[in-house]
Amino acid sequence: MSPLWQLTLARLREFYREPAALFWVYGFPLVLALALGLAFREQPVPAAPVDVQTDPSDPAATEKLREVLAADPGLKVAVHDAATAKQRLRTSKTDLVVIPGPGGSAAEFVYDSTRTEGVLARNAVDRVLVRAANPSFPTPPEATVSEPGSRYIDFLIPGLLGINLLAGGLFGVGFAVGDLRVRKLLKRFAATPMRRSDFLVSLMLSRLVFTLLDVLLLLGFAYLAFDIRVRGSPLALAVLIAAGGAAFAGLGLLIGSRAKTLETVAGLVNALLLPMYVLSGVFFSASRFPEEVQPFIRLLPLTAVNDGLRAVMNDGAGFEAIGYPLLVVAVWGGLSFAIALRIFRWR
């Protein structure tokens, strides 16, 4: 009947007896991973839609051009009059409008030069026409490669793992503590001889159990649904997850250390969660942000964790890759715990 065990058990029971909470914590990330994984499935590059504009004065030239272009599997050719073709270009239904010249040549390309698709279609059509005019030009053989760990879902899963760790720490500890305070249970506990350290350690232990489940579920799901494996050191991965989870639990404790209402907790959680959601490379790479803000982004704990997770899971790295992430989360976690314990309010 040790108090530490009883307190931990109480937290676990309170959690798993709330089915709604179970879904949002464990079910929802899986649904999200599945949806995004399917939406961004690897697909062959689709054929570029290209319109040949009819030339009423020379139907033969129009037909000849259509024939030449349609022979290339990379193009999807349609024939339209000038007005329709222009309209289709404006609404991105076609990437390029080709105006026929004499004898199956092109007189003019019309496209939007700021759209990647337009430029690609222009290049593709140009290449087909040049090759058609020079049949003897040599064609080099092609070898395609597909790097493992380079799909979008490979990028996404470590990001989801990271944001789950963060959200779990902030909600699982911050909200739990805020809720106990609102219900006056913290005060009730403080009136007993309960050791304060037992209470705080029980929060961490229950987080550890939830995190373990969360990680195993997500990684197991990623393996089964998308054949995603940990390519680097599993031990390094475990160490990084444990350190990140502990640091985020510390942030959660800091958030919950004084809040008197759950609204305050929710506000603080969002203030931390949302910026990192966007900046820390969960759904797209953080390197897309301007160079000037990169040093700041690299200091965010979630960026560090995500970078480390990706290095180990996708690039096959080991402990050498998680030194910087460990340093960042150690500083964040250490400071959070130190401040939280100092300002913690029991009533």
């Binding site: 029971r13 219900r183 006056k184 249970l185 005060k187 009136a191 007993t192």
Partner: protein
């Protein structure tokens, strides 16, 4: 013998604009083994006083000794020896009664088994029930069971029966009596005068942060000048009434209180006072709608001392 509680010159001012003087110089002595009630209306400062004594709030000024110990020196020792039920605690919804009591029991070095603590409050049949499925009275008894988990010498109960139906209140009173029967000290707050009267050896009447009367229920009632109360209700349509001063001169009448159509008299000997009252009414030509006699209660004590009722909704 060490007193269970000794409080001197207790002051608590909550900071704010304006600051709230919740407790303004309060003294308290509770002997070991007695049941002691703080009786007073809402906002009188009962909870504030109790939480300072329980070590949950710091006083602005004053001395507090609990079981002969002081909070700044022996907090851990005091916590092991007291049990507490706060005015409002929402225990974890999704824990059963047994799990909740087991959790609290684990905080104390010694005490009853969880099953014994549950039996002490008569919740055996609900041991496996989640706390959010308990009635208000059962929840309150569970709160008492958690307070009993360390077999405390001193039990604090803040408004244990507020909002409960009469049957639940009586069940809780039985629990409190059995605790007291085992020689423990019980300190409770209430704004029900019958609770203080039936349950407690001594009562401190608290108003505006001060003890305005202290004694056994019988002593306090005697102090309002007689155990007997005559409530005289005039017909609302009758305007001819004797002046309150005229009632005061009647034989054995010790106090007169006039409120709307009702005049309440306390009298030492109702058999002598009553005929005189009726004569006076008749002489003034007043119409009487009703007349009752009853024994005085702590409610009468409070009204006599403050001119107000304990609970706002009582006319």
């Amino acid at each position: 013998m060490t007193p269970a509680i000794r409080v001197r010159g207790l002051v608590k001012t909550y900071p704010g604009k304006p600051p709230v003087e919740a407790v303004r110089g309060l003294d308290l002595d509770v002997a070991a083994g007695e049941c002691f009630a703080l009786l007073g209306p809402n906002g009188a400062g009962k909870t504030t006083t109790l939480e300072i004594v329980e070590g949950l709030l710091d006083p602005t000024a004053g001395e507090v000794e609990v079981l002969g110990l002081r909070w700044n020196a022996d907090a851990a020792a005091i916590r092991r020896r007291i049990g507490i039920s706060l005015q409002e605690t929402r225990l974890s919804d999704k824990l059963t009664v047994r799990e909740t009591v087991t959790l609290f029991r684990s905080f104390y070095p010694s005490g009853p088994t969880p099953a014994e603590a549950i039996a002490a409050v008569g919740l055996e049949e609900k041991a496996r029930t989640y706390t959010d499925k308990l009635s208000g009275g059962q929840r309150q008894r569970l709160a008492v069971a958690t307070a009993l988990a360390g077999d405390p010498e001193l039990l604090f109960l803040d408004e244990p029966t507020t909002g409960l139906d009469p049957q639940s209140r009586r069940q809780l009173w039985d629990v409190i009596r059995s605790v007291k029967g085992r020689g423990r000290t019980v300190v409770l707050t209430t704004h029900y005068m019958d609770e203080a009267e039936r349950l407690c050896d001594r009562v401190a009447v608290v108003d505006h942060g001060k003890v305005i009367a202290l004694g056994t229920p019988a002593e306090l009632i005697a102090r309002v000048g007689g155990e007997h109360v005559i409530d005289l209700d005039f017909d609302p349509t009758s305007t001819a009434r004797p002046a309150p001063g005229e009632f005061e001169k009647l034989p054995t009448v010790t106090s007169v209180r006039s409120e709307g159509d009702r005049v309440t008299l306390t009298a030492a000997e109702p058999h002598r006072a009553l005929p005189a009252v009726l004569d006076l009414v008749r002489a003034a030509g007043a119409m009487v709608a009703g007349l009752t006699t009853r024994t005085a209660t702590l409610e009468d004590v409070f009204v006599t001392l403050t001119g107000r009722h304990l609970r706002d909704n009582e006319a």
